[in-house]
């Protein structure tokens, strides 16, 4: 009886693993195919797409072409600058709003909470025409500044929402003790609250970063040329131009994929913990 149970159990486990492994393969296969083929000669790409590059077929010609013919390095640093500044501001301003809304009672608190919460559901993209008009009246079209401003506005609502949940958990005694000692409110926020919510800040940072790094819409509309392209737009334009040059296309895709994958593997724990800890439920 016991033996039977055990066998039944392990065959069930085997089934579960089989399903999960096959789906994992489906999830990874396309990425894998692109990366291995970017290191192969044109002939080998077509002859045997699924083979790993061998000594005969290995070549870096695609990467050379991409790096020579496009400004990949520039696009990459554009993306880095935009993403980093946006994340920093989203986290700082988001935490400040979240703190003010959860800690203080003041007229307008509810109104501000509602307006900010609406931003979680209503995509900022719908206001694109207004944004373009605003940016052109500020002379910011085709600058990275316009992108940074848009991404701060885009990232704030969710950041405020998640950070509020964490700030609510900070024990009251800590704040009261500081107030009794005569510490100012601003100092309380920066020296007590910010260090305490640091783990959640990592979660918010990852959540904010992905849509910014991967966005095509706003770069396409606000900063489409003059070396202000982000990496996503740069790849899109490059591939559009060299669509028949498979080596270059595969290499540019690989160059765009790999940094994100590395970053993801480094931060995946934080991200998944954030998702499963209920911060976004």
């Amino acid at each position: 009886m016991k033996l039977f149970n055990l066998r039944h159990d392990s065959s069930k486990k085997l089934m579960i693993h089989a399903v999960l492994i096959s789906y994992t393969l489906i999830a990874l296969f396309p990425i894998w195919v692109v990366i291995i083929n970017s290191f192969k000669s044109r002939k080998a790409i077509f002859n045997d797409p699924l083979a790993l590059p061998t000594a005969d077929t290995f070549t870096l010609i695609g990467f050379e072409e991409v790096l020579l013919r496009s400004e990949f390095g520039l696009f990459f640093s554009n993306s880095m600058i935009v993403t980093m500044i946006s994340i920093f501001c989203v986290l700082l301003f988001g935490a400040m709003i979240a703190w003010a809304l959860t800690e203080y009672k003041f007229p307008g608190n509810l109104a501000i909470s509602v307006i900010v919460a609406m931003g979680i559901m209503i995509p900022i993209r719908l206001g694109t025409i207004g944004i373009l008009e605003l940016m052109s009246s500020l002379n910011l079209v085709n600058t990275l500044t316009s992108l940074v401003l848009v991404y701060i506005a885009q990232g704030l609502p969710l950041a405020v929402y998640i950070l509020s949940e964490f700030i609510k958990q900070v024990p009251k005694e800590l704040k009261e003790a500081a107030r009794c000692d005569g510490v100012g409110e601003i100092k309380i926020f920066f020296t007590i609250i910010v260090p305490l919510i640091r783990p959640s800040i990592a979660t918010v940072a990852v959540f904010t970063m992905i849509p910014i790094w991967n966005d095509l819409w706003f770069p396409l509309i606000l900063a489409p040329s003059d070396g202000n392209q982000t990496i996503t737009l740069g790849v899109q334009q490059f591939i559009g131009q060299y669509v028949t040059d498979w080596n270059s296309v595969l290499a540019s895709l690989t160059l765009a994929i790999v940094p994100v994958l590395i970053l993801y593997l480094v931060f995946s724990r934080q991200l998944i913990r954030g998702l499963t800890s209920g911060a976004v439920k």
Partner: protein, 309 residues
């Protein structure tokens, strides 16, 4: 005796905390949205002069065949896009989450990390990757289908009017399945073991435990996943643009609201772009999303009890 209270000092610190973020949010997000909604009521002459036009733009979009055919086509395609996500993405996500949450499963965090991976990548990149894989020139998918004996099924799916939209929706499903999976998985982990143990002791099978204990408890999460899918789908643009360009070919069969908005605003081929008509399209997208959110808040959120666990 009256107690003289010192006048409270003005709470400068609140202003300090709120104003930088709120200022940017109001000027770059709220104001442009209102501006866009407002602009939808105007008509733009060829010389750029704006004049109030009332509901003219909307009646054109909804009833004048030149505008309304593309509009209803895009709205209908968008609905199909959403339905495919609901029928394929969310059930797969549920299945994966349930399997992953089964007790004492080894390697579960590895599965989680790997299955979530495509979600991280840019839709643009994903669009090109699949374009290459499905390409008849390269022949990866064709050879694969032949090897499992389904070769005659192969077709240039992305290029055919009848199958392009479905193919694109499935690519999007492939990319985003990780998100609902993660949210449902988190909800499943939140169910106390005692509840499941109790149902097992009462003699329910694994399937019954799932159907009568777990599923009702994760219903709020499934509702939230649905509304998130809805908003994301009716706001989608990148995948279609990356694979099919702004014209959403073949013959507009993959046109959705996002691409229609882009074309109306920027113009294409012979048609000039119009910011006022673009604003009207954006307003209708806004109303669709609002309708979905309100529907969710009032019907779903209210009917589904939140179990205090």
């Amino acid at each position: 005796m009256t107690i003289i209270r010192p006048a409270r000092p003005f709470p400068w610190h609140i202003l300090f905390f709120i104003s930088p973020g709120l200022f940017i949010y109001l000027t770059v997000s709220v104001y442009p949205l209102l501006d866009t909604l407002w602009l939808g009521f105007y008509h733009e002459a060829d010389d750029g002069q704006l004049s109030f036009a009332g509901l003219n733009n909307y009646s054109k979009l909804l009833f004048n065949a030149i505008w309304s055919d593309p509009f209803w086509n895009a709205a209908w395609n968008n609905l199909k896009f959403f339905i495919i996500h609901m029928l394929v993405q969310n059930p797969i996500a549920l299945l994966l989450a349930v399997l992953m949450s089964s007790s004492k499963l080894r390697l579960r965090s590895t599965y989680r990390t790997l299955i979530f991976m495509p979600t991280m990548l840019s839709v643009v990149i994903i669009g090109f990757v699949w374009q290459l894989i499905l390409s008849p020139i390269w022949g990866i998918s064709e050879n694969f289908l032949y090897s499992i004996g389904l070769g005659h099924w192969f077709d240039a799916w992305l290029g055919k009017e009848g199958s392009a939209l479905i193919t694109l929706a499935l690519i999007s499903v492939w990319q985003y399945v990780g998100m609902p999976m993660m949210l449902i998985y988190a909800a499943l982990l939140g169910i106390p073991d005692e509840l499941q143990d109790a149902s097992v002791v009462d003699g329910s099978s694994g399937w019954q435990t799932f159907l009568y204990i777990k599923l009702p408890l994760i219903m709020p999460t499934i509702g939230m996943v649905s509304i998130l899918t809805f908003v994301a789908n009716f706001n989608a643009f990148e995948l279609i643009y990356a694979v099919k360009g702004a014209l959403a070919g073949p013959n507009f069969s993959t046109d959705i609201m996002g691409t229609l908005f882009y074309r109306t605003f920027f113009g294409f081929q012979l048609q000039q772009g119009s910011s006022t008509m673009g604003a009207a399209v954006a307003t209708l997208m806004f109303l669709m999303i609002l309708l979905g959110v309100v529907f969710y808040l009032f019907l779903f959120q209210r009917r589904v009890q939140r179990f205090a666990l």
